[in-house]
Amino acid sequence: MDLRYSAEEEELRRSLRAWLAGVLRGLPQKPRPDDWDARRRYDMGWQRLLYEAGYGGVDWPKDAGGRGSSPVEQLVFLEELQRARAPGVGVGFVGLLHAGPTIIAEGSAAQRARYLQPILAGEEVWCQGFSEPDAGSDLAALKTRAVRDGDDYVVSGQKIWTSHAQVADLCELLVRTGTEGSRHRGITWLVMPMDAPGVEVRPLRTIAGSSEFSELFLDEVRIPVANRVGAENDGWRVAMVTFAFERGTAFVAELLESMELMRLLAASAKESGIWDDPCLRQRLGSLAAELDALWALTRRNVSEASRSGVPGIGGSVFKLAFSELRQSMADLWMDIEGRSALVWGEPADMWVNSLSRTIAAGTSQVQRNILAERVLGLPKEPSTRTLEG
């Protein structure tokens, strides 16, 4: 075990830091959350700057146009971006972290040529059409149908929880091509242009009042067969393959931001005098200790991914613990703010949004099942086994 960074890693850090110091000064002001066109311009503009400086796809392989950095280098990259308070990935999220890697792994040469470079260069925005109203934690129950008609699939159905669909050019879409009840075995992965006739985007208001997510209504949308990635009915595997691309760094930015928040809360509590309350100090200390542990766990995951290429069990452990920790942090913040927390602002926003963490991308209940079954090897529930078989 060695937590020291190598000379090369430190060199990356130094050059990044120098570049960031310069480029961040010239950045325009951050747009308002509900001005989607401005958000697209801002996020894509930032991606363009990264791309031009050679940081467009730090974790992407070189032959896909990326930098081909190791997970540890990626960690350094994310640490420095967070430290400099650089913009996040924003609306580039699905393209850079999910659709792109899927096409890198499973796309044809033509698909790689068509889709990858515009993602890296900040030219095309992707969204994800996976979840459906009746297929949440149970994604394999999805119903959106695709019927082959000549060189097209004709797709009808409904998707939900699609991020920044308002400004997306393309959508990675899971559809059912197999029989009803075919579960994992009858799913196909398609690239859907968002301007295709029959695609309707209806923004979905969350409990935080935001429009981050939308519903997609698909009414006989024609998608060329050429847009299929992987074989027909093999879409489940195609979608899952991306998880192997995840190298334990998915939550690094948020984790570092959480550690910063703990420092800010401590500083503001000292200023206001509530630091004199030992029970508050101890609550803060307890959360900070757990954040430190999750930072250690992240470095373990990244190390494992550097060696083996996959993140191992740590990722699921991290997600379960971090989801609940974010909720405890938000509770603490709300308690510290007291009556002021009733005015909508950062604490309220964090508090309300933290509730989605134990739900989105697999509820904490499902996460615990996954840990118990895949990591600890406990048997599946009989009924679920029958259905998923």
Binding site: S131, D134, G136, S137, D138, A141, I160, W161, L204, R205, T206, I207, G209, A269, S272, G273, I274, D276, D277, C279, Q327, M334, D335, I336, E337, G338, R339, S340, A341, L342, V343, W344, A348, V352, L355, S356, T358, I359, A360, T363, S364, Q365, R368, N369, S383, T384, L387, E388
Partner: protein, 370 residues
């Protein structure tokens, strides 16, 4: 000893539930979300006519002459139905100040029931309360001024001062504003309060105003009234919390029966069952604690009112916060949409909790009475 609801108490609860279902159905509440006036004065008048604010007023004074227990039963229903408005202060104004008959000299000038205050001129403070409360339609809000509850650092419960200055709920709907300090209770005309609306409130049904300057009001009660006000508002707040917790339990169970995942209702999964069972424990515990605290006020000798009110408030706020959170969790992704009202209960829990002493303070009170 009989700790079950009496027939009268049961009838009261049913009556309130029916009024709430008719006058405050969730759909009509939701049509007022994020508006500056979420209180419908007609519905409020119906609550008043049903006696909600005069339960404890003596029969001579036009009330029902009941005790804290009856009020806690009624307020649980109001909490369950998410009824918006200054419920607690309006009840306390009736039961505490109303009983005093108002300050001298003004008692004889009651205002027309439910009507607007006369424009301009000095506020007939005690008279306003004595008159309107008897009529039972006044919307009375409150503000807490720096007393022993004030915490270093700005946050302070009651309708109090935070980092954002003093926040008042429902200001635009109020007929009168009671200013609670350690020394006295004062009444202020809400129209002369210098305040600006908060852009967006956490609870879409509880609009807030930031008070820049608060004029001196008319004194309507002394330190004894202040003490009683502050103790009983905690009990009423706890009752609203129990109602919120109970409502979210019902919602969660209903959804868990209907929603299917992995080919079966999600409520058949142990993990979901256990969330619901833990909610049930919180609801039952906090409701029993609430009723015991109310009786400790009504029936000298059956318990320590200070300890039991603090304990009930502690469990009830915890129950409201934990259950409304669990309700969202049981709803999964749908719970995270604005459309499903689960988040309204969550926000209301925070509003109610912020009007109470903090958990640590309540625990200290209980510990000090061991």
């Amino acid at each position: 000893m009989d700790f079950e609801l009496s027939e009268d108490e049961g009838a009261l609860a049913r009556a309130l539930r029916s009024i709430c279902a008719n006058r405050f159905p969730l759909e009509s509440l939701r049509s007022r979300e994020l508006q500056p006036d979420t209180v419908d004065r007609e519905s409020w008048r119906e609550l008043a006519e049903a006696g909600v604010f005069s339960l404890r007023t003596s029969e001579d004074g036009g009330g029902l002459g009941l005790g804290a227990a009856a009020v806690s039963v009624v307020f649980e229903e109001l909490g369950r139905a998410l009824v918006p408005g200054p419920l607690v202060a309006s009840e306390l104004a009736a039961s505490i100040i109303g009983m005093t008959g108002g300050t001298e000299g003004n008692a004889g000038s009651p205002l027309p029931a439910g009507g607007p205050l006369p424009a301009g001129g000095p506020l007939p403070a005690g008279g306003l309360l004595a008159g309107q409360v008897r009529a039972g339609v006044a919307l009375v809000g409150q503000i807490h001024l720096g007393d022993s509850w004030e915490r270093a650092g700005g946050s302070f419960p009651g309708s109090g001062r935070g980092r954002d200055g003093i926040l008042v709920e429902h200001l635009a709907s109020l007929d009168a504003l009671v200013v609670v300090s350690e020394r006295c209770l004062q009444v202020v005309d809400p129209r002369v309060v210098d305040a600006e609306p908060v852009d967006r409130s956490l609870d879409p049904l509880t609009p807030l105003w930031r008070v820049a300057r608060l004029p001196e009001g008319e004194e309507v009660g002394g330190p004894e009234h202040s003490r009683r006000w502050r103790s009983e508002e905690v009990l009423l707040g706890a009752a609203l919390c129990v109602g919120v917790a109970a409502a979210t339990l019902d919602m969660a169970v209903a959804y868990a029966m209907q929603r299917r995942q992995f080919g079966r209702p999600v409520g058949s999964f142990q993990a979901v069952k256990h969330i619901c069972a833990d909610m049930l424990v919180r609801v039952e515990e906090s409701r029993c604690a609430l009723h015991a605290a109310a009786l400790a006020i009504d029936q000298p000798g059956v318990g320590d009112p200070v300890r039991s009110v603090a304990g009930a408030a502690l469990l009830a706020t915890r129950a409201a916060l934990a259950c409304s959170k669990a309700c969202i969790q049981v709803h999964g992704g749908m719970g995270f949409t604005w459309e499903i009202p689960a988040h309204l209960y969550l926000a209301r829990s925070r509003v109610l909790a912020s009007a109470m002493p903090g958990a640590g303070e309540l625990e200290e009170v209980v510990a000090s009475r061991l």
